[in-house]
Symmetry: C2
Subunit: 670 residues, 2 copies
């Protein structure tokens, strides 16, 4: 890797560029000077104590800067962000500089102790925590107000002076990763540990979940095939399949928590202390005193936010949901109208007209989803959440509810209002397969084509520069800064969530759904991998210990699926035939079975421990050690403290001696 | 208080007896000598460094010892157990000896900084943690095996050498507490803070819950009265009442969590770190290495325990439940038989015979409950749980399930199999009122009578000793050691839990239930207070942050009550009249409403935060401070560490200087 940079790194042999900062063209000199000074300034002076270097291209300085840090600085930063690494005794511990020798693979000259993505995360953290001291504004930009403690980088970003900050790819590592990940045709697990090293925990966890979910669906798919092939629709086989599916979906979600704990323990994020969350960039308010930190910062009344949420956002979402249902009803009317028209005319044109409503509806749904997404982002931003996590949770909730209704409302309507099982099966198959094909196209074929075009352009450019050996750093930065920004795992999880809905909500009507889901997910892994490695800028690593709100979303879906499946089974003619005399008995039986299944689900979720036993033991061991250390500290710190106070207070000493009957008072607890 | 002891405390004026240790009569001299030596021995030598004094009575030494500790020792112990106290700035922090000056009301000569119950808790903790070093057995008792790290007190207790350890009452304080608690006839809150100071958090939390629960039931009671008086049985009023009850029961349980958080924050237990739990006294196994502590101690395979639970305990509990149902069926047969007999004969004798089945059933239920309790304790003990908390959870679960079925099975049978609403209302009223009267008698009248008798005996005895001014310490210890031991809040919570079941499960059939519950709880407060202050030994304080598994039990009950109430409403003739044509529509509507209510319940439980905002802020502030302190520590500790390493490694120093371009390397991050 060093070789590829050697052509540029002539002056400082040890400067390793990690992060790129792009300032707006025409940024004032005094601003640049001030900003770079703050970045290199000593910690004690309120700087970040990092290294910075302008990137000099053939066109001269383009306001692009490379940021790096000394090895020592990175180690101290690792302690600061609370990084957890493996020790020599194979246990995981929070890294501290003073105990550095006890960590596995640590050596003063081992630059690879911290992975590149960890280094980049540390630099990002340090840059984000570069705070204004007594500056009232950003020098050169009087409209960009500052107050003590305000993150400088965030203010620069919101004012457009800072265009972007992104971490550099490591071309050697990426090549290796690509090869093991999707470069060879093989059946096997993904290299999750390598993905985590390169892209960080959040993305590795997404791929881990995708892989786990695919494997977990295989039993459902395998059991589903004979039901489809032999058309087993007897009562007992039917119920067995649905019951298996319901319990299985509970089991896989519980087991995922355990697998997730094993992975994140190995990666250190399970033990990582949550950092104190800073306000998100878009947060605004009048300057006040934060009750938690005691710092001066914008504050915004929580009551106002609650009012905005409950008086504006909630009604708006409800209205959108109502509108979506209204559109669905229009679709069914159109469908009916097209059917009637076809019945009357029976022409070629009329049979083509049969497809028109579905197509219009599909397009409208897509448009509604997109408009709603913007509206949801606008509203959630307007709610003015202080924390990014709270913003994300509110956004995810809004989008989830709407997408759920938009995707499944027509199926619910067909199933529980029209009672048309044939149409349900047909619609389900159409929706599932169409959405998968569309997604595969948007995520796999399109990027592949873009990739090809990109490579071609790059090659032409390289040819013009007459450098056909290796890409220089300048080339790398210039090509990477043009790449798209990966906006997080939200859309990927949403896709899986909707897929889980298709598979579980109506599983007993269409047993093949799981088969299609498995096939889709296998290609999904490859297309997502391609997307991460080739299409987007490298994202900053984001330590995380679980998949967060998605766990809850999947669990809620599996609870809803118990209800829908029980109703579907109750509606099937086979089950109806069992209760020829009384519909009432049928409904009561179905309700009873449903309640039993729900009870079993909750008991199972309660009984299966969230962490495997060995992880529990390791965590308990760590807790025990810290308690023991605390006790030792108490015992160690007291005698000194005490003897001092005793010297000051002879009366008390005499008193103590009297009480302790001959014991030496100044050795208490020693 | 000191005055009352002054007659005995002639030698050591500062020895304040806190805890009483009673050894078995005839305990060998060498054992006593060894045990007391270990108690007074220095911490460094593995002792507890407490003070101990034999109690010399008129009959000579009766193997009763008084344990105390110096003020300094108690302060160090407070740090050791992780006690949280209020600081001068009104925030709550873990007490440490070195930061003692920052705590409210702290002064070196203020013996009241720690409450007496805190001191007693500290002493108990220190005694429990008195561990064997290289002793292989208790001196004088070769059968009482020891191994390094085994708690000496627990071994002495299991071998019967130690009869009991209990904390002494503080007669002055108790008198004051009694007066404010139940001494005066007044309407108002209980003195929960004083109760907590005297009895500890677990008991104060029980009384807090009892009081809160009583207040929370008042709206239900108030709304229930007109329903009973005016016999409102129209559909809409009925449904409104039941819906209110269901939502209200969710709200009160959620609000309790918040109130509980406020209280336990004030008491410091919300912030108290969980101590590492030691094995419970009854735990046995072969000596092995504990994977968590690395210490040699008995280990017992978790698989064996699981086998015992799932292959023996679970089937046994199921069998008991089946047996209970069987007995219930016999009761209904007997009832039918008595009714038939009465129909045939119509004599005085036959009308009396009508009551016989109920009486027999009530007695049998009581007997079954008692036998089952023993069986459950035996089984849970046999399951050989390592931790007291896990033992308690398994015991509570077993007892709860059986008691639930035993108390409510007949009501469920009457409601959902016999469909006899009149009988249900009658049985519910009978069961509720009978159980309340029985409990009041057992908890209030009986203790009061015992109390009177006790006082009379005491007075006679005092008279014979011709000391009618004040009780001496010897008298106090002798009278207290004969008092019953309070076995914990289990039975008190169980009573409340069953009451909550009567009120919520069938609330729409018998709206007066809440009224009776409120009346019962008001007297319950007084009878329980009397029990704590007069009847039982003072219990050791037990820090706790919540009501634990009972929160879950109450929440489960409120979920079950949604189901039962919806079915009852669906069965009512008023609602049936609304669906004259189709039973199916009725059932479907009821099922829909039930699912909606359950969904609302879960959303409410999710939306209402478990902790009020100000507590959240205080907790966040504490977390923020500890993170900041950590950062400061990192910044402070490094320069020294680093300059040392730099001196050792000049090459690295030069390198660093080169990289940091003029910055002084040995001031990194300073």
């Amino acid at each position: 890797m060093k070789e590829s940079w050697s052509s540029v790194d002539t002056l400082e042999t040890n400067f390793r560029p990690l992060v790129v900062i792009e300032l707006a063209k025409g940024t004032k000199e005094e601003t640049i000077e001030w900003f770079t000074k703050r970045i290199v300034d000593k910690k004690a002076n309120g700087g970040a104590q990092l290294l910075i270097k302008p990137l000099v291209t053939e066109n001269g300085n383009e306001n692009i800067y490379l940021v790096g840090a000394s090895h020592l600085r990175l180690l101290l930063g690792a302690e600061n962000v609370g990084l957890v690494k493996e020790c020599n005794d194979n246990s995981m511990r929070a890294f501290t500089y003073s105990s550095r020798k006890t960590f596995k693979d640590f050596a003063d000259d081992n630059q690879n102790f911290l992975t590149m993505s960890e280094c980049q995360y540390i630099i990002k953290h340090e840059l984000d925590n570069l705070r204004a001291k007594d500056e009232k504004m950003i020098p050169g930009y009087p409209q960009a107000k500052l107050y003590p403690g305000k993150s400088i980088v965030r203010r620069l970003l919101t004012n457009g002076i800072l265009v972007q900050i992104f971490p550099l790819h490591d071309r050697e590592e990426l090549k290796k990763l690509r090869h093991t990940w999707y470069g060879q045709v093989k059946i096997g697990y993904q290299p999750l540990d390598e993905i985590r090293c390169y892209f960080g925990e959040t993305i590795a966890l997404y791929f881990g979940f995708l892989e786990y979910f695919t494997f977990a669906l295989i039993p459902m798919a395998v059991i589903g095939i004979p039901y489809y092939v032999f058309a087993w629709e007897d009562y007992d086989k039917y119920v067995m399949f649905a019951t298996f599916n319901l319990l299985w979906s509970t089991v896989i979600l519980e087991v995922w928590k355990r697998i997730c704990a094993v992975m994140t323990y190995r990666w250190g994020t399970l033990l990582m202390k949550r950092q104190f969350e800073e306000p998100r960039p878009g947060f605004h308010g009048v300057l006040g005193i934060n009750p938690v930190t005691g710092r001066e910062e914008p504050v915004y009344s929580s009551i106002k936010r609650q009012l905005r949420i409950y008086l504006v956002s909630v009604p708006f979402v409800c209205l959108c949901l109502y509108f979506s249902l209204y559109v669905m009803m229009i679709y069914f009317d159109l469908e009916q109208w097209a059917l009637d028209y076809h019945e009357e005319n029976k022409s070629h044109f009329s049979s083509l007209m049969l497809y028109v409503p579905s197509i219009i509806y599909a397009v409208v749904i897509e448009i509604m989803n997109r408009i709603y997404r913007y509206a949801a982002e606008f509203l959630t931003s307007w709610e003015n959440h202080r924390l990014e996590s709270s913003y994300q949770n509110h956004l995810i909730l809004k989008v989830l509810v709407f997408n759920f209704l938009n995707c499944f409302a027509s199926l619910f309507y067909i199933a529980f209002v029209l009672f048309d099982m044939k149409l349900l099966r047909q619609s389900l198959a159409t929706l599932l397969i169409t959405s998968q094909i569309l997604n595969q196209f948007a995520e796999s074929l399109l990027p592949y084509w873009l990739q090809k075009r990109h490579m071609k352009k790059m090659k032409e450019r390289m040819h013009s520069l007459k450098m056909d050996t290796d890409l220089s750093l300048v080339e790398q930065v210039n090509s990477e800064k043009e790449m798209g920004t990966y906006l997080g795992t939200f859309d990927d999880y949403l896709e899986l969530f909707l897929q889980f809905g298709y598979v579980s909500l109506f599983s007993c009507v269409y047993p093949l759904a799981a088969v299609f889901a498995v096939l889709n997910n296998i290609t999904e892994i490859y297309s997502d991998a391609l997307k991460m490695c080739r299409v987007y800028k490298r994202p900053f690593a984001e330590p995380t210990a679980n998949i967060g709100v998605w766990q809850l979303a999947f669990e809620t879906m599996s609870v809803i699926s118990v209800v829908t499946n029980c109703i579907l089974i109750g509606m099937s003619p086979q089950v109806n035939a069992l209760f020829p005399d009384s519909k009432m008995d049928l409904i009561l039986t179905v309700a009873l079975v449903e309640h039993l299944l729900l009870a079993i689900k909750f008991v199972m979720a309660f009984v299966i421990p969230d962490k495997p036993r060995d992880i529990q033991i390791k965590l308990a061991k760590l807790e025990f050690e810290s308690l023991e250390a605390l006790k030792q500290q108490i015992i160690a710190e007291i005698p000194q403290e005490e003897s001092l106070s005793l010297k000051r207070n002879t009366r008390m000493k005499m008193l103590l001696e009297m009480i302790w009957a001959g014991q030496e008072a100044n050795e208490t607890c020693g």
